[in-house]
């Protein structure tokens, strides 16, 4: 019958819906255009670039030390992890050996940043799913961690504590006791968060089976971090290619086999507990010694020496005025950030500024799998899937 034919034709038109860039649940300025057939998503087209800040071009015009604050603002949820990656790439380029105390403190800062980032993710993920309570509790914990960051170098969010060759200054008195007090109560706090969501039937219904990413797809699409560990592949750069003394610490890699958003949630909860374990071991074993390597021409001399010794003053002056005269070459250094493999590729031509600095942001690559995961699901599930990818727009757009 001709009427039935036109009815079916009309039903096959899809609705194009624009999500973002200003949206309460897109975690920043992210825009996606989804094509809907009723409520089922048939196609997802992400549009990026709304927070493109020209990071890589700006770095080519700054001296090597001036890049550190820029690098920290790239992934603002776990700022110390970024400066760790960059400083390690520079130390590899300049062949500097970082002293053990600095390595241990860097590990503490990196793991605190991991907990910091996962807490915020947990709060906003709960908020997207519809649970408003986790936000308030997770952000209360974050205030404790921000107090610790403030004790190191003054910044709450971006402490800017790491330098090429080590750290800027030693720990304050009382830092070790406060970290220990934090680690003692944190496990019970994670138990509290788990009581809110893990066995909650509404949460399990909303996330189990939603956003399935199979292992071979995850590898082909370059996903790393919790995205790939939730598919059963135990890829963790802290274990496979350890750096900054991670091989001394005893921790497990959080792996689940569910491949869906619920598995990613479980992986991140487990990672918070493991990070707590690492911090406790690092604080118990904190070695003494210098907090910065000695390499005139590349590393700033200690502050006390600048005021008392002539050579240190001259080295400091030349370093600030002329910058680092590095060798000609290129390095790639990758670390395990809360989102995945964070990589820094530096090409140096011997001058005081990087010739090319390429930042491999894990959130950028993880977002590629959004289309694969959400096609065929409901529109309400799209928000859950997007939040389970854990993107930070400043890293996606750089």
């Amino acid at each position: 019958m001709p009427e039935a034919a036109t009815r079916i034709d009309r039903r096959s038109e899809t609705l194009e819906l624009n999500i973002g860039p200003h949206h309460p649940s897109t975690h920043g300025v992210f825009r996606a255009v989804v094509e809907l057939d009723g409520e089922i998503i048939t196609k997802v087209t992400p549009y990026l670039g709304y927070l493109h800040r020209g990071y890589e071009k700006t770095c080519e015009n700054k001296t090597y030390h001036n890049v550190i604050p820029l690098a920290e603002r790239c992934d603002y949820m776990a700022a110390s992890g970024n400066s760790l990656t960059y400083c390690m790439a520079m130390e590899k380029l300049l062949d500097i050996e970082v002293p053990e105390r600095a390595q241990a403190i860097r590990v503490i800062m990196a793991e605190l940043s991991r907990i910091f980032s996962h807490l915020f993710w947990l709060g906003t993920h709960g908020h997207d799913v519809g649970a408003i309570t986790p936000v308030i509790y997770c952000l209360r914990e974050r205030e404790d961690i921000m107090n610790l960051f403030e004790l190191t170098a003054g910044g709450r969010l971006m402490p800017n504590y790491l330098r090429i060759g080590g750290l800027i200054r030693d720990l304050e008195d009382g830092f070790v006791e406060r970290v220990r007090a934090f680690t003692n109560i944190f496990d019970s706090r994670v138990d509290d968060y788990e009581t809110l969501l893990t066995k909650n039937p509404i949460y399990v219904d909303r996330t189990k089976g939603v956003g399935v990413l199979k292992p071979e797809d995850a590898v082909a699409l370059g996903a790393s971090g919790p995205m790939i560990r939730a598919t059963g592949i135990p890829l963790d750069l802290r274990k496979t290619q350890p750096y900054s003394g991670y091989e001394q610490y005893d921790f497990d890699v959080a792996v689940e086999t569910g491949c869906d958003s619920y598995a990613r949630y479980l992986v991140r909860i487990k990672e918070m507990r493991e990070s707590n374990r690492i911090i406790r071991q690092a604080i118990d074993r904190l070695p003494g010694g210098p907090i910065r390597a000695t390499k005139p021409g590349a590393v700033f001399p200690p502050q006390e020496d600048i005021y008392t010794r002539m050579e240190s003053l001259i080295h400091h002056f030349m370093l600030v005025v002329e910058g680092i005269k590095g060798p000609v070459g290129e390095v790639y250094q990758a670390t395990e950030s809360p989102r995945g493999e964070l990589g820094c590729y530096i090409v140096s031509d011997g001058g005081p500024k990087p010739y090319r600095l390429k930042w491999r942001g894990p959130a950028f690559v993880n977002l590629e799998s959004l289309a694969v995961m959400s096609e065929g699901s409901f529109l309400a599930d799209f928000i859950v899937i997007l939040s389970s990818v854990d993107i930070v727009l400043a890293e996606v757009d750089r």
Partner: protein, 168 residues
């Protein structure tokens, strides 16, 4: 003061403009326009430690139609300008804008091809809050400055300026 003392200080006498301004500043609903890192400090201001709810502002509305105050927190890239402008135009008057953070005030550390050097090139800003990111106390201080500005606004037009419609 005369009549208030006679009524045992249970009544406060003022003029209508003060009253309207006080009502506007006491429950100014912000539009959460968090673009980048400053958004985290804005959210930290909204939760239990720095509780912005003491000032009636904990309802961060996602829709510009329901909001009074647009806190531009973070870097505005050039690609984002049409969206910012469209959202500002959707807000109903009276509306105010706070530029939070160095990037919103002047472009911050990003002086390059992709970042707008201050959103006051495209929006009328009432209060600038410097910092990278500004502490929650700094954001609250900026909000208080905005409240003081609102209290001094001329929100009621002079009644004598309204033309009377002659009855015909």
């Amino acid at each position: 003061m005369g009549i208030e003392r006679h009524l045992n200080d249970t009544v406060h006498v003022t003029n209508l403009e003060w009253f309207v301004n006080w009502a506007r500043k006491s429950s100014m609903w912000p539009l959460g326009f968090g673009l980048a890192c400053c958004a985290l400090e804005m959210i930290a201001t909204a939760v239990s430690r720095y509780d912005i709810s003491r000032f009636g502002m904990e309802v961060f509305r996602p829709s510009p139609r329901q909001a009074d105050l647009m806190i531009v927190a973070g870097t505005a890239s050039k690609k984002m300008i049409p969206a910012i402008r469209r959202i500002y135009e959707q807000m109903a008057e009276p509306r105010w804008v706070i530029a939070m953070g160095a990037c919103a005030c002047t472009g911050g550390i990003y002086k390059n091809y992709a970042v707008v050097q201050g959103i006051d090139r495209h929006l009328p800003v009432d209060v600038y809050i410097p910092g990278c990111p500004p502490r929650p106390e700094a954001l609250l201080d900026g909000i208080f400055q905005l409240h003081a500005k609102v209290m001094k606004e001329q929100s009621i037009k002079d009644p004598r300026s309204f033309p009377l419609k002659a009855a015909t």
